[in-house]
Symmetry: C2
Subunit: 303 residues, 2 copies
């Protein structure tokens, strides 16, 4: 029998639910995940979904176990709305929202996302990973890039998120490669030279994105572009356009890329081509470090 | 009983099949359409699909009726492959492909598409509409813009297509508005000021497209963008980026927009904002005029 957890960490996105039983030393004792993301759940579905993963970790007779959750679980369509906090602000702060759990063994606290009023932008979940970066490097001054469906670039200084911006690069790549006419053209492999060329083209001439997308299809029909090169080139064209849009964020600044290994490697490569030696932090590790920081704030009565 | 047609005109795209019984005077006597586009048909499905529409027009005892067809019906996955002709060339020329019809009442000729080798590009169907523009204005020198799923811009001079380029603007708008996270944000209406602002932004700063897409979602979540304005702004951002990519095509040239009324109006408006007084031709009328020109070439033994 595993020891009972000191607390439970939850990363609850639109499509996935991930939970970890955490020890008092801040390390995970056990982990579990399911496809019961926020997007599939009605309001009364959240507690049963959480108990399906975390139920086995909960001791029968003891006070409630703190659960620290981040992500879309705190959106208006989530378990409880955790209203956005406005930047500039620390990534974590007062105002964890208490989700209405019925089971007396659960005390669920949801980390709010961040909002920016001008230009309008929002994040939910990434603020916790940013807190994880700061937890390991309290003096960090620079930019955190969090690649994903909606990649975020956040400028951090003096422990605060000063500003941030979002690019739909991941979602565009997914739609173009899976649903658009380009699906006939792309292979499953990769060719680094084609990626690098794509990055360079749209970074230098971002307007070319609009004509270069169909050109992938045309070049393939004319037998001039192999499927794996086409896939890498599409990724390069989109990330090059993203780097053109976010140039003020990464140019001349310290950059840390937070995410899963394969996707982070692509961003590190694209930044490396511009002479930016970005660092990498593991996405899951930063989520856990950020939730641990939230847990500590709760214990200290700060939040 | 209607008189038998002199010939039959067919516009056979990926998703729609349209046919017209044509009189000797070049006017349609009747028309019909179905959803049996190229994308849904196996090789042996084309002839039955055509007969379902055109069968009632075919006289029982007479020689074969010429059928002039354009569009994806001539692709490798179509009824018969009509290999691309390379620009620079006239939009129509030698090399109509004969489709293998079993019914002795049909003599089906498929108009080839055009290809460009550098930079790689292809079109199928638009070459016929371009021929329709030239049929009504043999001395046309300028640019034809054909908005659609994959919008084409073609430079015409001395009766030839000199070069062309394609933008996936229509498909991007469809995917973003119907499938992406923006589907929650867009209304069904329109707001011209939001459209014009979007056009101006990405035309001036095309790299902003990558950040402005998610900003639509964020502004909506923060209560700062109404659904109808969001729809018009998305269209404007995409068309502004297209105009940035195609600036050498439309700047200082005579421009004719060929297409359906509503979509053409959007392009005319965007071009008008740049001081370009583009003319408009109806898409269906140009298809019929182009197919009539192909029919005349066949009768004269040119093709």
């Amino acid at each position: 029998m595993a020891p009972p957890p000191d607390w439970i960490a939850v990363d609850w996105g639109t499509s996935r639910l991930r939970a970890w039983a955490m020890g008092a030393d801040g390390r995970p004792l056990a982990g579990a995940e399911s496809g019961e993301g926020m997007g599939r759940l009605a309001p009364d579905g959240f507690e049963p979904a959480l108990l399906r993963l975390a139920g086995p970790w909960l001791p029968a007779a003891r006070g409630p176990v703190p659960v620290m959750a981040c992500g879309m679980v705190g959106s208006r369509q989530g378990w409880v709305e955790a209203p956005y906090r406005a930047v500039p602000c620390a990534p974590l702060g007062a105002g964890f929202a208490r989700a209405p759990a019925q089971d007396a063994r659960l005390a669920v606290h949801v980390v709010p996302g961040l909002r920016q009023d001008r230009p309008p932008d929002v994040m939910r979940g990434e603020e916790t990973q940013i807190a994880g970066v700061l937890a390991g490097d309290t003096g960090f001054d620079g930019v955190v890039c969090l690649p994903g469906t909606h990649t975020k670039w956040a400028h951090l200084s003096a422990g605060e998120v000063v500003s941030f911006t979002s690019c739909m690069t991941g979602e565009l790549f997914d739609l173009l490669s899976r649903v658009s006419v380009l699906r006939h053209t792309l292979g499953g492999g990769w060719e680094d030279a084609a990626f690098a060329e794509g990055v360079g083209e749209t970074l230098a001439r971002p307007e070319r994105l609009m004509t270069q997308l169909f050109a992938l299809r045309a070049a393939s029909l004319l037998g001039r572009l192999a499927p794996d090169a086409a896939r890498a080139r599409l990724s390069g064209l989109l990330i090059g356009a993203e780097l053109a849009a976010t140039r003020p964020w990464w140019l001349g600044r310290r950059v840390v890329v937070v995410g899963a290994e394969a996707l982070s490697a692509i961003y590190l490569r694209a930044l490396g081509l511009q002479g930016v030696a970005a660092e990498r932090r593991d996405g899951r590790a930063m989520t856990l470090a950020g939730l641990a920081a939230a847990r500590a704030m709760l214990a200290e009565g700060v939040a």
